[in-house]
C-alpha cells in the first residue's frame, strides 16, 4: 500500500471519529454514530497491517508482512478475549467503573507505546520528540493509575469518601514537582533509568491525585482522565508521525474537556473545587443524634393510597435504583399510574447515580421512552404543582443542604427541589447517608414518608397494592 493511500485511510478514520462524536450527541443518531466510530477504528487497524511505517533511524521500511505478525495478532486476540466478554456481560449498574477501567488500560497502552518509542529514540531525536514522548509517559501513567483508583472507588473495593491525610496537599505538590524535575532530567540525560523513575513517580501522582476526590465527584474525574488519555494519544501521534492518532487523540482530549466542564457545571462547582475540595472542606458537623430523630415510615399500602389520589407524580431515581435493578419495576409502576390517568414524569438529575446520564441509560434499558425523562431545569419549576415526589434510592441530588448549608461538601450543587412537592416518598435501604456522606434533613420533614427496604421489593409491593385499589 502506498504511503498516500495509508495516510488517506487514516484521514477517513479521523473523519469517522468526528462523525461518531457528532452522532453520539443526539439520541436518534447515537447508535449509528458509535458504529461509524467502530468502523473507522477497524479500518485504521487493518490498514496498519498493509503498510510498514519506516523506522525512525531513516533506514528503508522492510517489506510486508509486519515483523512479529503472529505475536501481534495473538496479542489482539488476547485483548478481544478479555475485552468483549467484559463489555457484554457487565451489569448496567457497573457501567461507570468499566468505562473507568477501559480508560485506564488505554492510558497504560499509550504510556507503554511511549516507553518503547523512547527506547528507539536515537541521538538524533529532536527535543520536541523527546518532550512529547516524556509527556505521553507522564500523562499516560497518571491516567492509568488514576483510573484504577476510580475503578476501586466505584466498585467499592476501597472507601468512597475522600482520602485525606495530614500534609496531603504538600505530598501531592511535592510529587508533582518531583515528576516535573525527573522529566527535565529525562529530557537532558536520555537514559532508561530516569525514564523508569519518571514512570513510577507519575503512577504515584495518579494515585495521590484521585484519592482525595470523593463520592459524587468521581465521574468528573473519569471524564478528565479520559481527556488526558486523548491528549497522550495525540502526543504519540506526533512522535509516530500518524495523522490519525493526532486527530483522534485531540478530538477526545477536546471533547473530554468540554464534557468534564459540563459535568462540573451540572454539579455547580469549579473543576478546581472538585479536585482539591477535600483539602479545604470544613469538617462536617456532628450528627450523632441523627439515629434517634423521629422519621415517618409507611407501608407499601400507604404509598399506594397516596399515589392513587395524586394528579401529578414525579419519580426521582438514584443509585439505589441501579443497585436493586429496579428499573423494570419502576416502569411498571409508572405505566400503572399513567393508566389511572396520573401525570407521571421522571426527574433526572444530571449526576444521579455514579455517572452523568447513568439513570437515562438504566431507564432506557427498561424501555422507558426518553420523552418521559425530564431534565432538572425542566422539572424543578413543576414540583410546586406535584402531589407526590417518589425518591428511589437517591439522596445527595435532592438534599436541600446543597442550597441551605454553606460549607457542606455539596453546597452549591443544583438539586432536584422535591422539597417543594406536597408529599415526598423516600424508598431507602436504611438511614445511611448518600455517596457524599451527608445527612439529609428532608428525611425528617413532616411531609416525608419513608419506605424501607430493597427498592425492587418495595416497588413490587407498591405496584400490587396500587392494582388492588
Amino acid at each position: 500500500m502506498s504511503t498516500n493511500l495509508y495516510s488517506l485511510i487514516g484521514l477517513a478514520a479521523g473523519v469517522a471519529f468526528i462523525l461518531a462524536l457528532k452522532g453520539l450527541s443526539h439520541p436518534k443518531t447515537a447508535r449509528r454514530g458509535n458504529l461509524i466510530g467502530a468502523a473507522g477504528a477497524t479500518v485504521a487497524t487493518l490498514s496498519v497491517f498493509l503498510y510498514v511505517t519506516p523506522p525512525r533511524d531513516g533506514s528503508a521500511a522492510h517489506s510486508l508482512p509486519l515483523n512479529h505478525l503472529w505475536l501481534i495478532l495473538g496479542a489482539i486476540a488476547v485483548g478481544l478475549i478479555v475485552g468483549v466478554p467484559a463489555a457484554r456481560k457487565v451489569e448496567m449498574t457497573q457501567m461507570p467503573q468499566l468505562v473507568a477501567l477501559f480508560n485506564g488500560v488505554g492510558g497504560g497502552a499509550a504510556a507503554l507505546v511511549a516507553i518503547v518509542e523512547y527506547l528507539h529514540l536515537g541521538k538524533d531525536a529532536t527535543t520536541a520528540e523527546v518532550i512529547f514522548t516524556v509527556f505521553t509517559v507522564i500523562v499516560g501513567c497518571v491516567s492509568f493509575s488514576g483510573s484504577i483508583i476510580t475503578f476501586m472507588k466505584l466498585q467499592e473495593l476501597m472507601t468512597t469518601r475522600p482520602v485525606v491525610f495530614p500534609g496531603g496537599r504538600f505530598v501531592i505538590a511535592g510529587t508533582l514537582v518531583a515528576v516535573l524535575g525527573t522529566a527535565v532530567w529525562v529530557v537532558n540525560a536520555l537514559g532508561t533509568t530516569p525514564l523508569l523513575v519518571l514512570a513510577a513517580l507519575a503512577l504515584l501522582f495518579g494515585v495521590l491525585f484521585v484519592l482525595p476526590v470523593g463520592g459524587a465527584d468521581v465521574p468528573i474525574v473519569i471524564s478528565l482522565l479520559n481527556a488526558f488519555t486523548g491528549l497522550t494519544v495525540a502526543a504519540s501521534g506526533y512522535v509516530l508521525s500518524s495523522t490519525l492518532l493526532i486527530i483522534a487523540g485531540t478530538l477526545v482530549g477536546a471533547s473530554g474537556t468540554i464534557l468534564t466542564r459540563l459535568m462540573a457545571e451540572a454539579m455547580g462547582r469549579s473543576l478546581f473545587g472538585t479536585l482539591f475540595g477535600a483539602f479545604t472542606a470544613k469538617p462536617q458537623e456532628a450528627s450523632g443524634s441523627a439515629e434517634e430523630r423521629p422519621v415517618r415510615s409507611g407501608s407499601a399500602d400507604d404509598v399506594a393510597i397516596l399515589l392513587n389520589y395524586a394528579r401529578r407524580v414525579v419519580i426521582v431515581p438514584g443509585f439505589g435504583l441501579a443497585v436493586a435493578q429496579a428499573q423494570h419495576t419502576v416502569r411498571e409502576l409508572a405505566d400503572l399510574m399513567i393508566s389511572k390517568g396520573i401525570d407521571v414524569a421522571y426527574g433526572i438529575h444530571p449526576v444521579a447515580g455514579r455517572m452523568p446520564g447513568h439513570m437515562n441509560v438504566l431507564l432506557a434499558e427498561a424501555n422507558v421512552p426518553y420523552d418521559q425523562l425530564a431534565e432538572m431545569d425542566e422539572v424543578n419549576p413543576t414540583f410546586g404543582q406535584t402531589d407526590v415526589a417518589i425518591v428511589i434510592g437517591a439522596n445527595d441530588v435532592v438534599n436541600p443542604a446543597a442550597q441551605t448549608t454553606p460549607g457542606c461538601p455539596i453546597y452549591g450543587m443544583p438539586i432536584l427541589e422535591v422539597n417543594h412537592a406536597a408529599n415526598i416518598i423516600f424508598l431507602k435501604r436504611s438511614m445511611r447517608p448518600g455517596f457524599a456522606g451527608i445527612e439529609n434533613e428532608l428525611l425528617y420533614d413532616p411531609k416525608t414518608m419513608l419506605l424501607f427496604g430493597d427498592a425492587k421489593a418495595s416497588l413490587t409491593k407498591v405496584v400490587s397494592a396500587l392494582k388492588a385499589l
Partner: protein
C-alpha cells in the same frame, strides 16, 4: 512530519472536538464519554507500529502488552457503548430486549 502541519491539524481538531459536543444533553453524557473513550483505543495503531519496530525482547514484550491493553480499550469501549445505546428507544416498541 512537518511541525507546522502537525500544529495545524492539532489546532483544527481541538476546535472540532469542542464544537461537536458543546450542546449534548445530559442524557447522553455517559454514552458520549464511553464512545470517546473507545476512540482513544486507536492507540492500538501506534502499539502495532512500535511492535513492528521492536528490536529487543523487552521492546517487543512492552509493545505486545500495549496491544493487549489498547485492544481491550477499543473493542470493549465500542461494545459497551453500543449496549448502552441499544436501549435508547424513542417510543415504546413493545418487545423486551
Amino acid at each position: 512530519m512537518d511541525a507546522i502541519a502537525i500544529i495545524s491539524i492539532f489546532t483544527l481538531a481541538v476546535f472540532v472536538g469542542f464544537e461537536v459536543v458543546s450542546k449534548v444533553s445530559s442524557t447522553l453524557h455517559t454514552p458520549l464519554m464511553s464512545g470517546a473513550n473507545a476512540i482513544h483505543g486507536v492507540i492500538l495503531v501506534g502499539a502495532i507500529i512500535v511492535a513492528d519496530h521492536s528490536k529487543t525482547n523487552l521492546e517487543l514484550g512492552l509493545s505486545l502488552a500495549a496491544i493487549i491493553l489498547a485492544t481491550i480499550n477499543m473493542v470493549g469501549g465500542f461494545v459497551v457503548t453500543d449496549r448502552m445505546l441499544e436501549m435508547f428507544k424513542p417510543k415504546k416498541t413493545g418487545g423486551e430486549k
